[in-house]
Amino acid sequence: MTAKEVRFKCLMCGHEYTGMYDHDNVTERSCPKCRSNSVRRLPDRKPAEKK
């Protein structure tokens, strides 16, 4: 599996940013703004399908 660009949100300061994420090669996350490690990978938003 290759790395893909995902959105992250810091749960300490609320800062949102995009970064690379590789499920097989997890790396330590820290918020670029406040250095907290409580950085959540936001779920992918799939576009709604047209009916």
């Binding site: 749960l11 300490m12 790396t27 330590e28 490690n37 409580s38 950085v39 779920p43």
Partner: protein
Amino acid sequence: MMDVGRHPRINLMTFSEVESVTGFVGNFQVTVRKKARYVNPDECTACAECAKVCPVAVPDEYQQGFSSRKAIYLPFPQAVPSSYILEMDNCLGNNPIACGKCAEACEKHCIDYDDQDKLVNFEVGVIIAATGMDVYDPTDYDEYGYTRFENVITSMEFERLICAGGPTEGHFIRPSDRKIPQRIGFIQCVGSRSRDGRGNPYCSNICCMNTVKDTLLLCDHYPGVEAKVFYMDMRSFGKGFEDLYMRSREEGVKYIRGIPGEVVENPESRNLVLTVENTTTGKLEQHELEMLVLSQGVIPRRDGEGIRKLLTLSTTSDGFIMESHPKLKPVDAPTRGVYIAGCVESPKDVKDSVTQASAAAARASILLNAGKTRIEAITSQVDADLCNYCGICAKVCPYNAIMAPDRKEKKAPVIIQAACAGCGACAAECPQDAIAMRHFKDEQIMAQIEGVLAEHPHKHLLTFACNWCSYAGGDMAGTARLQYPTTCRLIRTMCSGRVDEKFVIHAFRLGAPMVLVSGCHFADCHYINAVHWTQKRMDRLWNRLDKLGIRPDRLQLEWISAAEGQKFARVMRELEDRVKAVTSEEIEHTMKVLADEEAKVQKRKEKPAVEVTVQ
């Protein structure tokens, strides 16, 4: 080394690579690939007749490329076994034979062009990893002109030039005109103690004393020579090192505190002009030198990842292999039965490497002589009745200690107790709760959560802290007398990887306003990569809380090392403010939502999978 080669009970396998390591302490099965040498080492007498007739010349790696060697060569004069090797990539005599001169010249008929790699399997009780290090490549530091100016060399190249067995037979000459330089400069910390994105942040330990030794050699061989050392700090700790440093100063070597910012070459004289801020005088200075030596730092072996994976070892943030405990088990690797020695663990000099190797050998012999070993009782157990054979436990185990048969076989996994280190990641990830970890069972941790939140739960910050780093970080905060709120309640687990989703949910269900999960930094994880699973689990938990309408930021994650007492205290203070901000209505809502979810799950469990109607 000769003694090692001749020892009847030591099987020395040179020019070989470890292919696989399986098993556990006392019972390792190792496969080694003995590479084809194309020369029989038992018969070769190193007479050099083959090299004399070989028509191929390539740069000699041992002499740092200052001289050439043949395609059939002795790697270095003291090589054990003292036998030539034929490098097939450069040899002309392979398939179809176009040359064959070396085979004709060899009276002992040692050369075999059809030699093949061989795989050798054997069993060992313990393993000592002593794979050494590499040197830093200074090409990143373009301002020093290593790739542009011929008279800029590295400290390794200096070693070869000044060595009696080197390409110039010990005559120290500069490469551009082969004259003996009279003004020589040394720049320290090239690739070490760097914070600008190039090089490494750590001190390479050996470079200062290596330069002191080099300056003394120069002064000894060439009394009139002028040597200047540009440094940020001279670190001459160690027995006799300060005396050596003072001797160098007394010999007239100038030590200038300042790292040059620029090196330019005079195109006519090929001399080098360094611009440096002398931080002792505060003045900008220029120094004209005939030759410049870059004192390059050391780095972990570039090909060390393979052996690290084979032995399931972890590394520090610098990339060197991490010891089991920096003070109490400095030569033990986290994997039982594996020991480390030398620069594979950190940069060190010969004396320290020998000391560490002796300690590792002693530790290994204790285990081998005893014939049996005691292990911590903190290991995992599988309840075969609950297991659904999914195999997730085997996937998450950092030590490959779980043998899970194919799911179709419907057999519960087997945990090799001697290999299990007790991180508990398997117990936390098992969807069936079929794995229990001795001393850290679900019921035991649940009981601790209930105990912590029995009174005034809305006031407490519930913290899960890993034994090795975060819990020790808390200790550090305490011993450093750093203030942090008294309302935080710590529950210790061996690894943050043991923190099950249900522990966090249970804490919120009992009215916890905030939960903190803390563990080692990724590079410091004492269970190789168990923290990776903590991170993944936290992502799942945050999503789950979000779906349930619970603020995900009420669950926090922090990596706190044993030395980060200040961070521990700061995080606790910051989260204390957040605990106060969580309202009682929010806590009650959370408890109700989770109680409803629990009831739904319970109802699903009670409902039979297939409803049978009796007519």
